[in-house]
Symmetry: D3
Subunit: 241 residues, 6 copies
């Protein structure tokens, strides 16, 4: 069973992390999952949103967006339309939740980290690439914040790592890390977010064409967990490099 | 291990379906999961959205909203704020996808069914109550559409049933159908959408406090599937009543 | 001269008040004028809008809205359109003004009461049903606020009662409390808001088809005042019940 | 009982109509009620809004707006705020309804007339000045449309005249045509719109401070009807001039 | 080479300034450049925008807008569309910058002056008429602010005068102060803003049809500077009048 | 007189063009002016906007935007704010006009080219980098359109080249291509857009601090024209490479 790009079903696309791609941001990375290219900027600011003031705890939040010509045909800008679409909202919230799973907000103190994930080119898996890249940018931003004494003294706000990957069923076969061409053909589509120690942060599975049974669900969960483990290794290397 | 309201961990709240609660809508139900009360109206209209015209296929879509005082403290209206929040968008999309899983859009023909799910009172599980109730309203609307010859002749657009329930882990124990008070305490929160024949349509699990391992995930999936099976029985009874 | 639903010209539709329909709101009522059904929630909050701070006076305000399928054919949601229509604005303002006529804002102290009037089903007279029901919810909310010491000590902020009804001219005959079917046929349409002691708070008459002379105007005012008096009796009973 | 500006209670302010104040518009007038100054432009366009196409009938509609510094202190622009306020909506709708009362839309044919009423300076009574001036601009626009064969042959779409004035109760005395200073002091505020033959098109009375009884209401209606009759005479003169 | 309206290429249209056209504004002018008519209101308010608080410096800002029927055919209101167009934004910013060039914000102290420039009738050159008129309204507003002790004691915030004019190339000939009819025919269009002592504040030239060479650019700059000098004289006279 | 980065006053920053940076777009470039980095995507689509249909002529338009963390401190997204700022509008319009100066819209036929200019990193001169880069992306897109027979047969829609650069006066000295640090210090700031044959398309000069005289203006124009000539050479090389 060979895939569009010659990979085996359980193989990731070529993954790249170009750290510190931006000069101003406290953390940044240009992450690539095959042809999918996401620029992540992590911005550290003192203080927290109003509803969190006085809590002594920090905040990590994300905004996801796609450039108009990231895709095969040009889409309208959300700034021009004057409103953010449901898909954008949904993915921004997912990225934020995923990253907060590895942050000790008490150790962060009243500091906010924004993760801006802008898709420069899209070829499937943009949300999982964004989460995986955002972790790398976040790690650099936390280091910067600690060096600049913006976090609680002594404590490390970063309490783990997080990575994400898509899995799907095509012609009955579970496959890892789908490019756009496979994504549109998949019967079921699932995004798995795991911590570096192999536990689940998010599991989102959708039957695009046909409801799936428990056995297939188990296969997808196994495949996704293995994919995240590989991405964890690559993230570690990037941060050591 | 007794719960806030005296239920066992694997017990549903009292479930109610008041069918045909509205006079104008082609299908409608006031669904109750304990104190959570959602009014669902199914509206049948000839024709489909522009991007689907000429396809010969129909469309089912949903809009979810909450009245300002559905909750403990009053929230601002989204119409007054001038924009729909991310959570509202996300849930509307989830309801739409879940219902489309049991619709044969070819059999529907170029007809649209809108499912308006308005939460009159919220006490946890509003999205799962909405999906479960929307199925009942949809079934009535499809019957109406068939009687009025708005669907493809001979074929039944309704190819199954769908129900949804929340499950969560509280103090390490998996529990079914969480009210608000339990929801805010849950370490992990999951929404399960199943068809009447026991297959999965959507699985959305989020580690609110602590990432979860595979064993707990399995327990949650089992518990949710059993809850959906019970709801399926109640839906069937309501539609026969 | 018999009407669509068999009433005489000066007869109200069956009127219903289901008090405390909601569990969270400080006052609430599901009010029915025939098939018109409006859910009113009264929310008490400490403090007043910015422009009123430090005045020592309270504030009562209303928001009116219609569910998309309250009507015969589905309307678009204002939250989805991103803007509130002129009709909605106009009615919200009318309800707020009407209720403030029976509130002593000094006695209320710096407390705000929001009246959310959501039309679940529309069959003419939604604004008059909303005002009439809102008074009942307001009375319960004021009682609650007094019990919780949120009003000025000793004084009762509720200084009267208020009710509203529509009147119109159909085929030259003045008629009370028009359902939708009569409303569209009326030559002149008037909404009358009166206090429990029979004085006028608002008089809004519009020649929909033909300008009206002073004699007809007098007849409409008389008929409306009598209708309000009847509604006052029904409100009193509901609040005693 | 003398007034702020020396008038008697039943006297209008100095009224002025500068017709054809604009070079491009098909009808226009700069109308003055004392220091209140409204520029009205009537624009004739072929065709009607979508919902009226094919009906053979025309449409007359109005938009009311206030320049930011029409008032004593500067207000924010609605274009900058990105939304139209309830008051603006309400007045625009009132003007449109009032003018349509003297238009035979069948005789107009499928032609639209927009009445733009922009308040250059506000000193009370802006909506009544707008209606009274809009009639003059409308009359000129209808003449233009007839000359350019944009109306149904033979028929005159203008079937009457319309004027409007405010009345109010100050210290128990009914007074005509209130400037801003009196308006804020009035216990009751009423706007009367009459046709040239003395019938009512709109009656909108609001108890700003104290509910009013039937006797006072009658006095206000009489006073307003007399004021409209005077304005009718002045409109006729302006159109002959 | 005679022009549409009989002027020579280097001649201004008839220029008019009606000072104090409004009763409430601290400064105001109805400025006319031929048939172009702009109403400018200058509003003085204590305090400055948030980002400038505590700086000890004042702020001058402008908002430009066009009435819907200022033009040959009616345009939609920006308040109705819910968003301000690019052209409006651009011109508002240009007017603000131009006026700030002759204001010593330190001498102004923490006071804000808003310049509202509303085009009542448009016939080309609305932005240059707005700037030229706004200077006159600003001068009156500064005088008012000084009399009311709202500026820094002793210092005069007004440190010069400013005027603006359009120039363009038509059939190869540089022409001054283009009306609409010439504007649409111009190959190149330039707006020049100069101080009363002949220096440049803004130079904005655009090749509408054909790129222009340095020689033509020089001619346009000379012509514009001379036009501004004439306008400076007329402004001075108006302010003395 | 040495500059922040060691350049002479009339020296450009290091300029880079990475053509075909995107896989999907018909033309694309990552353009760098020092640390300023703009990603330009040119999208070719059949057809033209509604107002141009049936004219036989094509259209070229641009949208400029900045990623939130392109700058030293994070800015809010315009899509989140729900409205596009004046500066964004202004620059988008400038880029569109500049590029249209070298396009023969008749030769283009009814085809549209969108130029999306997204600033990934900002260090002054983003609009001039965008124009200069957009020309390169446009040239590739036109080639693509001609190969795919989307332009008028035989004719070349690209009739010249266009480049842009900023110039400014710092401490009285005219300087070329200002980075952010110099930009904020400049007394006068000017953007020059020239065609490849040395004529002017746009000249926009603003006295940020001090009005400028004719002699300085001449120096700036000379310096800007020389800078554009250099950029023209670099563009040509990039397109040949």
């Amino acid at each position: 069973m060979s895939r569009v790009d010659g990979r085996t079903p359980e193989q990731l696309r070529p993954i790249g992390f170009q750290r510190k791609w931006l000069d101003h941001a406290e953390g940044s990375v240009l992450v690539e999952f095959g042809r999918t290219r996401v620029l992540v900027a992590a911005s550290v600011t003192e203080g927290v949103p109003r509803w969190r003031k006085g809590s002594g705890e920090g905040w990590v939040t994300a905004e996801y967006s796609m450039l108009p010509r990231a895709t095969h045909t040009r889409g309208d800008r959300e700034s021009v339309k004057g409103r953010i679409g449901g898909r954008t909202h949904e993915i921004s919230r997912l990225i934020g939740r995923s990253l907060r799973a590895v942050i000790d907000t008490k150790a962060l103190g009243e500091t906010t980290i924004h993760l801006d994930c802008d898709v420069l080119q899209a070829d499937g898996g943009t949300r999982t690439a964004a989460i995986t890249g955002a972790y790398v940018a976040l790690a650099d931003a936390v280091t910067w914040a600690r060096e600049h004494k913006l976090t609680r003294k002594g404590a490390n706000p970063l309490i783990g790592s997080v990575a994400a990957v898509s899995v799907g069923i095509i012609d009955g076969v579970p496959m890892l890390d789908l490019p756009y061409e496979e994504d549109v053909r998949a019967e079921t589509d699932m995004n798995i977010v795991c911590t570096g120690d192999g536990r689940f942060v998010e599991v989102q599975g959708t039957a695009e064409k046909e409801p799936f049974d428990r056995a297939l669900l188990n296969d997808l969960l196994d495949l996704g967990a293995r994919g995240c483990a590989e991405l964890t290794t690559l993230q570690r290397r990037a941060l050591e490099g």
